[in-house]
């Protein structure tokens, strides 16, 4: 996955020095230049007057941080200069045949976002806690979905049915939690529902060798049809009994919840979010540091070799796709019992496809995929926040932004990401 390992001489070898070629790409400097010019265009053509206030704590916090107020236009100009410097630095790095370090990209992104926020919220105050809290909330189903996608594809089965699994989870959670009054039972039911969808996907893909993309797409349609049908036919007439799900309470974690900024955002959440932290960590540790993960990756990269050493390829794939389905089903609970909202037709609204994009954007790595999902959550919530405080940009363009950024990022920064080698290929034992 990374090319840097080849460049470092092996430890303990003094004499051998391998000739290395460093592939440099002008993508990053070009993308930086585009974003810098965009910021410049904002400053020149749409100057915003007034001061921008960043509110860093909510009134209920134990530790109160002062509000930070900056003059909008001077700040934006400073940011543009810094962005231009970073662009120049990355160009210099590339021209001297080195790779653009990751920190430049991170710093650039943070600076750009800061400059943009300052400009967009000029003359108003920006609740940072609400912005970040909402971002995390919106990212929850995306993160679960992307974890499911990562696991499935690492095992060699493309999971386009994330959308269907989320929807099945949301539906089952709503019904079971409404009937029993227990959100936890809804959570378990949602995992079972997602797992069933995963098993259907796995059965068709592994046993009947049907194209995995076909099964995934068709399963999405099937789940949309089933849930919408039962919603119209059964849930709507009996909404009080079947579709009034209780919601999970927020459980603030005692000490962690009092940390400024981080506490209210990360540690005053529902159990679904806490489970998500655990799931991301477990998925990372499991995939890269356990026997199970090694086997999963082996059947996804080279099933024949895995079979040769005695791993049951198709059985491994089946159960991991089923597990992935359970994870996605768990993510679907966010829509109903996670937010206390009744189920509605197609309420996942394409979240599964965004999760799929996060999988690819994150390079089939659980943590990177989760970060990509967070980015999507942030961008969607940014629009919500800015439309509340009134921003100069038409809301449609704000809504478009995450998707445009993704296209730029995929085309410019990520480039050709490498999928697991046997991803999407059925294993036919000969």
């Amino acid at each position: 996955m990374s090319t840097t390992t080849a460049q470092q001489p092996a430890p303990g070898s003094q004499t051998i020095s391998l000739a290395t070629t460093v592939v440099t790409s002008w993508k990053a400097p070009i993308a930086f230049a585009v974003f810098t010019l965009a910021a410049l265009a904002l400053a020149v053509f749409a100057p915003a007057e007034g001061d921008t206030t960043f509110r860093l704590s909510s009134p209920t916090d134990a530790i109160q941080l002062p509000e930070i107020t900056v003059p909008a236009m001077p700040t934006l100009w400073v940011v543009i200069v810094l962005l231009a410097l970073l662009t120049g630095y990355s160009a210099w790095v590339v021209s001297s045949k080195r790779k653009v370090p990751l920190w430049t990209i991170v710093v650039f992104a943070v600076l750009f976002m800061f400059g943009f926020l300052t400009w967009a919220a000029a003359g108003a105050s920006l609740p940072m806690i609400g912005l970040l809290f909402g971002s995390l909330s919106l990212a929850v189903p995306l993160i679960y979905g992307s974890l499911a996608g990562v696991l499935g594809e690492r095992a060699g089965v493309i999971n386009i049915a994330i959308e269907g699994q989320l929807l099945a989870g949301a539906f089952t959670a709503a019904v079971v939690a409404s009937v029993t009054g227990q959100p936890f039972l809804g959570l378990i039911a949602a995992m079972v529902a997602g797992m069933l969808v995963g098993m259907v996907l796995a059965a068709f893909a592994i046993k009947y060798f049907v194209d995995q993309v076909i099964v995934g797409v068709v399963l999405n349609v099937l789940i949309i049809g089933l849930t919408s049908f039962f919603f119209s036919q059964v849930l709507s007439p009996n909404a009080a009994a079947l579709n009034t799900p209780p919601r999970f309470d927020r459980w603030p974690i005692p000490l962690l919840g009092d940390i400024p900024i981080i506490g209210p955002v990360l540690f005053r959440q529902t159990v679904i979010v806490y489970l998500m932290y655990i799931a991301v960590a477990l998925m990372y540790f499991g995939l890269f540091h356990t026997k199970w993960g090694l086997r999963v990756r082996a059947v996804g990269e080279h099933p024949t070799a895995a079979d040769t050493v005695g791993i049951k390829v198709n059985r491994t794939r089946f159960w991991n796709v089923a597990l992935a389905g359970a994870i996605a089903g768990l993510g679907g609970t966010f829509f109903t019992i996670g937010s206390g909202i009744a189920f509605n037709k197609e309420m996942t609204a394409g979240a599964g496809f965004i999760a799929l994009a996060a999988v690819i954007f994150g390079g089939w790595h659980p943590i990177k995929a989760a970060l990509a999902a967070l980015l999507f959550g942030f961008a969607s919530n940014l629009q919500n926040t800015l439309s509340v405080i009134g921003s100069p940009v038409p809301s449609e363009f704000m809504l478009m932004l995450p998707y445009l950024v993704t296209i730029f990022a995929v085309a410019g920064l990520v480039g050709k990401v490498r999928a697991p080698a046997a991803d999407g290929k059925p294993y036919i034992k000969s």
Binding site: D211, V218, G225, F353, Y403, T406, I407, V410
Partner: protein
């Protein structure tokens, strides 16, 4: 060059066998296509030295062929739909309370609900027997073809991209952009009859082609995954069109505050094919032409040969001297134009009174299912599009007449595709003989699998 799959060193033997089917002559490929309902012998029918009997052979061919699988798949899906209708019907639930006292009531109720729903489906999609004249009775069939028009065009776009090994989920965005451009030309300009329509059509096609071309270009130049880019472009197009629809001077109707365009001018509207009492419009002719053109491109032109070679194995195609990157761009341009045709036929044919951001009506996603059911062959897609059009037309009348939610159609459609994609499952359910039982089992691997 004539045998681009030859360098596939890594493929297991079973997969290679299947690869032959796809690059065979189009007649053979058509036989593989399920939706042509061709009664031709299955590709792997063993040549008997001494045939047991003519009837036996024919029986064998029928029960092992693709046609019977398709028929049984449709039947199975309808059975599942019937079970869902029956179980959620209130009359059935009421009668089942005293099932052990009078079981007959339950069965009567089940029969009533299921037969009522499916006869409404039939009468809404093919022929309505309750009308007096043939002209009024046949109206549902024309509705079916009207619904099928954008589905076929979209299915062709998705299917063509499939054949080049790309997954075009961006139908929605491509349709929206095409519809906006065609609609803008159709209501914003004054041109003579015919020319106006042509200009709007071409404008829409170019719009759709360029929108999809972005994804193809990015894939070719930077390696950006077309699935991500097309999904993202869907949202970008949706918000772009939404913004234009609520901005006076762009697409919004003058003097209105709704996000809706003014009606299309008469000179640009597709003429009705069968007179004003039917909704069927000129777009259907365009779709037939498009099917022929796509068939010609894929099966008769050198461009199509290169497309299929890239779809089969991009590495082998590159070795054979095919410019793979430009194939990606060309394929996405053509696919986008086809989805653009779907969008244009919506605004100039079906919804001519002005459109909103929901003009795509989910066709961009339905088109994927259509392409899958049609196995990415042009005529297969045509038949699949007509079938789905029938379900759509009938679904609306079923909802109106029997109160069965139209979503049942989605369930039946997706089950059909699932069952058709897995012939062994259907054979197991109906205990049909397996055509490959005498040889080593040849797995049914669709051609999209090998594109990866």
């Amino acid at each position: 060059m004539s045998d681009p799959q030859a360098p596939r060193g890594d493929a297991p033997g079973a997969t290679e066998h299947d690869a032959d089917v796809v690059l065979e002559e189009p007649q053979a490929a058509a036989a593989v296509s399920v939706a042509t309902a061709d009664q031709a012998a299955p590709a792997g029918a063993p040549a008997e030295v001494e045939p047991p009997s003519r009837w036996h052979t024919m029986f064998q061919q029928i029960v092992t062929g693709n046609a019977i699988i398709s028929v049984l798949a449709v039947f199975l899906a309808l059975v599942v739909g019937a079970i869902m209708i029956a179980f959620t019907d209130e009359r059935v639930q009421a009668a089942s309370v005293y099932f052990f006292a009078r079981p007959g009531d339950t069965f009567v109720a089940i029969w009533d609900s299921v037969s009522g729903a499916y006869s409404a489906l039939f009468q809404g999609s093919i022929y309505n027997f309750r009308r007096d004249t043939f002209a009024a009775g046949i109206r549902p069939l024309t509705e079916t073809l009207t619904f099928a028009t954008p589905l076929i065009a979209g299915g062709l776009g998705v299917g063509l991209a499939f054949r080049v090994g790309m997954f075009n989920i961006g139908g929605r965005g491509q349709m929206l952009i095409a519809a906006s451009i065609a609609g803008w030309i159709a209501f914003g300009f004054d041109l003579p009859w015919g020319i106006h329509m042509l200009v709007a059509l071409i404008g829409g096609l170019i719009g759709g082609a360029l929108w999809a071309g972005i994804a193809g270009f990015l894939k070719a130049r930077t390696g950006a995954h077309e699935v991500i880019v097309t999904i993202m472009l869907n949202y970008v197009a949706f918000y772009l069109v939404s913004w234009m629809l609520r901005t006076p001077g762009l697409l919004q109707a003058p003097g209105s505050s709704n996000p809706k365009t003014p009606p299309m001018k008469e000179t640009a509207i597709f003429p009705a094919l069968l007179g004003p009492q039917y909704n069927l419009h000129f777009g259907f002719i365009l779709v037939i032409i498009a099917t022929v053109v796509v068939w010609w491109i894929l099966n008769r032109s050198s461009l199509g040969f290169r497309f299929r070679a890239v779809g089969e194995n991009p590495n082998a195609a590159r070795v054979a001297g095919i410019n793979v990157k430009s194939m990606y761009v060309y394929a996405m341009l053509i696919a986008g134009a086809l989805l653009g045709l779907a969008g244009v036929s919506q605004v100039l044919g079906t919804v001519t009174t002005g459109f909103t951001a929901g003009i795509d009506a989910g066709i961009g996603f339905d088109a994927i299912t259509v392409a899958l059911l049609g196995r990415s062959t042009p005529w297969g897609i045509f038949v699949a599009g007509v079938l789905f059009g029938a379900f759509k037309a009938g679904g609306f009348s079923m909802q109106a007449a029997e109160g069965v939610p139209i979503e049942i159609v989605l369930v039946v459609q997706s089950l059909i595709v699932l069952f058709i994609a897995a012939p062994p499952l259907v054979r197991t359910i109906f205990r049909l003989p397996d055509p490959s039982r005498r040889r080593r089992a040849v797995p049914n691997v669709t051609k999209e699998v090998k594109a990866k």
